[in-house]
């Protein structure tokens, strides 16, 4: 049987922690970054809370040549990619030609950059539009800029399936590694907290309203009433296991052992949603039985019917209260395509440290038959974790990560 590709590097840019260990420490402490939006004045909008990355200064991390041509999303992604390669101990310049690629998920592109250029166009005229607009906002920009920065000439791609895309990007990286690419920088970073991005997100009807940071984003809670968006995500080094072994990789966080993606049926069809099939498919692909799964990182939509579908799918697969379920994204907000790669990073750190990070805010509601880890982290040996992600428009994606060896 083929060895599963492994994760050898993690680069995290999260609202509650810039950098892997900062994020993990904050997450285990239950420290939330959800607060009133500071990047624009949110007073006139019904939703005013977000998980912002406060302490990020792009010029501290990136050459000034890149700054005028990049949206904040791309700046965060570039830094995340730098950190993941450093964490993996990879010097891309030493890799053979075409040995490494970049596969990211997109969501809304460099929306703030786009807003500025649209404003220039409509308020002043076409000649005020930047030469960088032709790529700085578009969905492929992060993969392109990362590949250029590190000279990665192997297969690169960009997938978009709303929030499920973050897992689909990792799955595509896994596929490319299995087809012979040595390693892929994969994952996603999103950041669309600008007024134009906000108005477009409001149209989803899924944003929590009000100003109470403690009670805004409450997945699986009886008061669940929408989510709080955030910015950030994670990029991972997904590497061929033999390649990692041969170069003496310092860290092997775990394997990408199985994946499946499904779409929900058309509304009104009366057919079942696709999340349960995604779970089953990922377990089957990984060759893992439900009993072997030690934790589920939930999508945690915080929309009652979506919470119900997810909880029921978990209960059907694993049995009632049979597996710990958690949603550390309650501390960051939903990061769109960035969310699931960040959850995969958290799952791999759960494996490393033998601890499941908590879900915060949500009270231990007995509304669903799931064992939700709330409030404080739970020490537990973790060898196998299931990460779930769903996207607007009916996308479901599930990924199994496993400890390597022993």
């Amino acid at each position: 049987m083929n060895a599963h590709p492994v994760v050898t590097g993690l680069g995290v840019v999260a609202p509650n922690g810039l950098g892997l260990e900062e994020y993990w420490a904050a997450t285990l402490e239950g420290r939330s970054a959800i607060g009133r939006i500071t990047r624009f004045d949110p007073s006139d909008y019904p939703s005013r809370l977000a998980g912002e990355i406060g302490a990020f200064s792009a010029r501290e991390h990136l050459p000034s040549r890149l700054l005028p041509q990049t949206d904040r999303m791309t700046q965060l992604a570039l830094v995340s990619a730098d950190w993941s390669l450093q964490d993996a101990g990879i010097d891309p310049g030493e890799l053979p030609d075409y040995a490494a690629g970049v596969i990211t998920a997109g969501h809304s592109g460099g929306f703030e950059f786009g807003q500025n250029e649209l404003k220039a166009l409509w308020s002043k005229g076409g000649r005020y539009v930047s030469a960088y607009q032709s790529f700085a906002w578009f969905y492929a920009v992060n993969s392109g800029q990362i590949s250029i920065r590190h000279g990665l000439r192997g297969p690169s791609s960009v997938v978009i399936s709303d929030q499920a895309g973050g897992l689909d990007a990792l799955a595509q990286a896994r596929r490319q590694v299995r087809k012979g690419t040595s390693l892929v920088v994969a994952g996603a970073v999103d950041a669309s907290i600008c007024s134009w991005g906000w108005v477009a997100q409001l149209a989803s009807g899924r944003l929590a309203t009000g100003d109470d940071v403690e009670r805004a984003y409450l997945p699986f809670d009886s008061d669940a009433r929408g989510h709080v968006p955030g910015e950030g995500g994670a990029l991972l080094v997904v590497e061929d296991a033999e390649h990692a072994r041969a170069r003496g990789a310092g860290k092997v966080y775990g394997q990408l052992a199985g994946h499946a993606a499904t779409m929900d049926p058309r509304p009104g069809s009366g057919r079942a949603p696709g999340i349960e099939r995604a779970i089953e498919g990922a377990l089957r692909d990984a060759g893992v039985s439900p009993a072997e799964v030690d934790v589920v990182f939930a999508d945690a939509a915080a929309i009652p019917e979506l919470d119900r579908a997810e909880a029921e799918a978990i209960t059907k697969t694993f049995g009632p209260h049979a597996v710990p379920v958690t949603a550390p994204k309650t501390m960051t907000g939903r990061l769109y395509s960035g969310a699931a790669p960040l959850d995969v990073a958290a799952a791999l750190l759960s494996i490393r440290d033998g601890v499941i990070p908590p879900t915060i805010g949500t009270s231990r509601a007995d509304r669903y038959d799931i064992d939700l880890v709330v409030g404080t982290p739970r020490p537990a040996p973790v060898r196998t974790a299931l990460v779930l992600a769903r996207g607007h428009g009916g996308f479901n994606s599930a990924l199994v990560v496993r400890a390597v060896g022993r």
Partner: protein, 426 residues
């Protein structure tokens, strides 16, 4: 496991929505006539812009079978995708209602998503760019579908009844090739048996025209719109923006054979590489495109001499056409000089992410009909572009294997090899 050891993937349905020809049949007629669909932009007043030309599709959503609610909630590019997917499904003769929807996937490529819808909606919510804090009270209810273009895949999945894996592939101007490659892998890997795959873009909007003006990528040949797209010609001055979609039904070969499907071609090989050089620029040597071609041929187990026709990216920028010519010589050697190469962008313009799929459609139709489409407007080839670009008129030419390539902002270089599944070279 080499993918070719297992399941093989074929195209059994084709749909095309293109400038100058709605539907695959009209599209093919335009190409073989060597007619151009480029014209002065009519969707808005282009006079403030440097480049005032585009290849616009005369697309009527209602006449194309979309319901009033579908029209209301979809951007133009999503409309193209759905209409074109329906054409492909009908063309395939496959009874989708009889399929297990869990085994049917959807992969749609798009470079700029709902950019036309976003441009229009921004104008409204910002009151013509006056407001820094845009007004949500003026937003259309389905604005989120414009924000995230995976809505295109959702719409196609609903239209055809697919519940398997779904995604949008967005790799700039190679999206249309990469979506076909991605979908092919889904079937080869066994996670789907049928994938409705293709690409759609509708970028003819002020913001897109302005952004290409700013880098002088589009042609300013405004006094002669019909002859403005001039790939490989010494007088070329940039590309002409286009729009449209092409969608395919991809099926596993054996099941397609069992049901007696008409098989257009096998997706025999696919590869993508990055130049890791520049977001918009190309190195003249074409090394990465050549590598993508080499790997795609290898996957298809076809020697360079087995390629009978190359459907080029041929955008008509100075840099691209030389880069690509170099890539063909680098990957195919002397055979490059003996192989007809053409760019349909000379006729239908450059529809960004969609064009890769539209070019795959042209490639399989070339195999189907034994005719290769011409490169229109090619009167005086650039001396550095010295291959056989099939100038001006279509050519009767039997084709068993076609190479279709693309090159995109972000550095993406992709190649697809399409071939008759019963070819002897396997």
């Amino acid at each position: 496991m080499s993918p070719t050891d297992g399941r093989r993937v074929v195209i059994t349905g084709v749909g095309v929505t293109a400038p100058g020809g709605i539907g695959a049949k009209n599209f093919w007629q335009l190409l073989t006539d060597g007619r151009t669909a480029t014209r002065r932009i009519s969707f808005f007043d282009p006079s403030p812009f440097r480049s005032q030309i585009a290849a616009e599709a005369d697309f009527d959503p209602e006449a194309s079978g979309l319901s009033p609610q579908e029209i209301r909630r979809m951007d133009r590019a999503a409309q193209f995708a759905v209409v074109t997917a329906r054409e492909a499904v009908a063309d395939s003769g496959l009874d989708f209602a009889g399929l297990d929807p869990h085994r049917v996937g959807v992969t749609i490529g798009s470079a700029v998503g709902a950019t036309t819808g976003l441009d229009q909606e921004y104008r409204a919510v910002s009151d013509g760019g006056r407001l820094d804090l845009v007004d949500h009270a003026y937003a259309v209810p389905h604005l989120y579908n414009f924000l995230v273009p995976s809505s295109f895949t959702t719409e196609v999945a609903w239209a055809v009844g697919a519940e398997g894996p779904g995604t949008v592939v967005s790799t700039g101007c190679t999206s249309g090739l990469d979506a076909v490659g991605y979908a092919t892998d889904l079937i080869r890997d066994g996670v789907a048996d049928v994938v409705v795959a293709g690409a759609s873009d509708a970028p003819i909007s002020p913001i897109t025209v302005a952004c290409f003006d700013a880098i002088k990528a589009t042609t300013p040949r405004n006094d002669d719109p019909e002859h403005a797209s001039r790939p490989f010609d010494a007088s070329r001055t940039g590309f002409v923006l286009g729009e449209g979609a092409a969608v395919f039904v991809l099926e596993e070969l054996e099941s397609a054979r069992r049901r007696g499907a008409h098989i257009y071609a096998e997706v025999a090989g696919y590869a993508t590489r990055s130049n890791a050089f520049h977001m918009t620029g190309l190195r003249p040597d074409g090394a990465e495109m050549a590598e993508a071609i080499r790997v795609a041929l290898d996957e298809a187990r076809i020697a360079p001499e087995g390629i009978d026709y190359i459907n080029a990216h041929g955008s008509g920028t100075k840099q691209n056409d030389r880069h690509e010519t170099a890539a063909f010589k680098r990957s195919l050697g002397d055979h490059a000089y003996r192989t007809p190469v053409s760019s349909i962008k000379s006729m239908v313009g450059h529809s960004l992410g969609a064009i890769g799929s539209i070019e795959v459609a042209a490639s399989v139709l070339a195999m189907e009909h034994g005719v290769v489409p011409p490169t229109a407007n090619l009167h005086n080839p650039d001396p550095e572009c010295d291959l056989d670009y099939v100038p001006l008129t279509a050519r009767d030419w039997r084709t068993d294997a076609v190479l279709s390539v693309g090159s995109g902002f972000g550095g993406f270089q992709s190649a697809v090899v399409l071939a008759r599944p019963d070819r002897s070279s396997r």
